[in-house]
Symmetry: C2
Subunit: 244 residues, 2 copies
Amino acid sequence: MPQAGPAKGMDQAPKALFFDVFGTLVDWRISIAREAELILKPLGHALDWPAFADAWRGEYQPAMEEVRSGKLPFCKLDVLHRRNLERILPRFGVSSLSDDTMRQLNLAWHRLDAWPDVPPGMGQLKRMFWLAPVSNGNISLMVDLARRNSLPWDAVLGSEIAGDFKPKPRVYLSACDAFGLAPGDCMMVAAHSNDLAHAAKCGLRTGHIARPNEHGPGKGEPAPTVPVDVAASSLEDLARKLGA
Amino acid sequence: MPQAGPAKGMDQAPKALFFDVFGTLVDWRISIAREAELILKPLGHALDWPAFADAWRGEYQPAMEEVRSGKLPFCKLDVLHRRNLERILPRFGVSSLSDDTMRQLNLAWHRLDAWPDVPPGMGQLKRMFWLAPVSNGNISLMVDLARRNSLPWDAVLGSEIAGDFKPKPRVYLSACDAFGLAPGDCMMVAAHSNDLAHAAKCGLRTGHIARPNEHGPGKGEPAPTVPVDVAASSLEDLARKLGA
C-alpha cells in the first residue's frame, strides 16, 4: 500500500467528506460564552457565561426531537435557537431584552470560531476531496461560519436541504444524492460517536475527530465509542491518515 | 453618492448575487463541441460539432417544460441531458455508443469552461457579496464547474434545492430564503432577459451580462431587452458598477 494512500482497512479513499460542524469544527462553548458576555455585560448582566452556553446548547437536542418525531414541522435551526434562548434566559434572571438584542444574541451561533487545526486541515483536504457540511445548522448559518473561518465548502448540504435533522437517515442520504455519490463513497466526519453510528447505518464511512474539551475541560470525546474507519486527533491528522 | 457605491438608481447595494450559469458564466457551446469531438472523433464519427452542441442545447427548454408543467416529476438536469442526448444522436447518424461512452459524453456538461472575465470578476465580487449559482443545473454539476473554473460559491442554490426549474418563482424565492434574505436584498445575474424578467417579478434586483456570442457569432444578447438594475459587459464590469 502506498504511504499516501487511503487509511488502513479502506480499499479505496472516499470521494467526499461530510462534516459535522458544532463541536467538530467550531468551539461553540467558548464562542457563545464570549458573544453572550459581549452583548449582555454592557447591559449590566453578570452571568456564568460558560454555564449560559451549556444551558443554551442543552436545549438543542430536545428542540430538534420535536421536529424529528413529527410533532413540529421542519424549521431552520435559527428558529429553534431563538425559542431555546427565550426558554433559558429566565433561568439566568435575564428578562426584557429588546428585540434587536435578542436577534443579535441569537446570531451568536453565526459567529463561532473554528478549532485551530481546522483551517489548515481543511485546506489540505480540499485538494483531494469534495467537502460539505452535513450539519443541523441552516444554510445562512453555515455560510457565516465558512466566511469567518475560511471553510472552503464545495456546497452546503445538511438539514435544510433534507428538511429534517440528524441523525435521521434522510439527512445523510440526501447529502450523498446531492453529490451524485453512493454512500460508500462518502465519509461522515464528526466528534460525536452517535452521529457516526447513524451515518454508518446509512452506508457511509466514518471519521472521528477527538474533541476532548468540547463541553468544557475533559468533557468531550477523546476517542470514538463505536467502530469507525478512521480516528484522528485533528483535521490535520485526518488529512494525513487519508493521504491528503 | 460615493464613487464606489451601488449602481445609479439603487438605494443600497444587494447583499447576495445569484448567477445563471450556462451561457452567463460558461461557454457551453464551444465546450460541448470540443468535448463531443474529443469523445466521438476517435470512434470514427465526423459531425458538425457546434451544430451538435446547438441541437443538444435546443432540447433543454422543452425537456424542462415537461417538469415545470407538472407532466413529469422533478429530476436532476443530468437526467434530462441524458434523455436529450439519446434524442439527438440519431439526427447526426450516431448510434450504438457504449454505455460508458454515453455516460462520459453526458458528463461533458460538467466540463464547461468559463468566459475569460469570470474568474477575476468573481474574485472581486466575493469580497463584497454572498455568491451562489441559481441555475437549472444540479448540485454535482455545479461543483464540477466550480472546481474547474475557480468559482468561489458560498453555497449551491437553484433548481435541485427548489425541486423545480427556472423561471418558476420558487427557484428564485427558495434561494433568497436559503440565505435568509428578502428578495430585494438579492440580485439575479444573467445573460438572458427572460430569466431576469421572472426574477424581477419575484422582487429580486437584476443584473444583465452581455454575451453576444453565446449561441455562435452574433447570436446572443448584447444588451437586455427588459428593464434591469445594472447592465454590464462582463463580470469585471459588473463588479465595478456594484462598487466591488
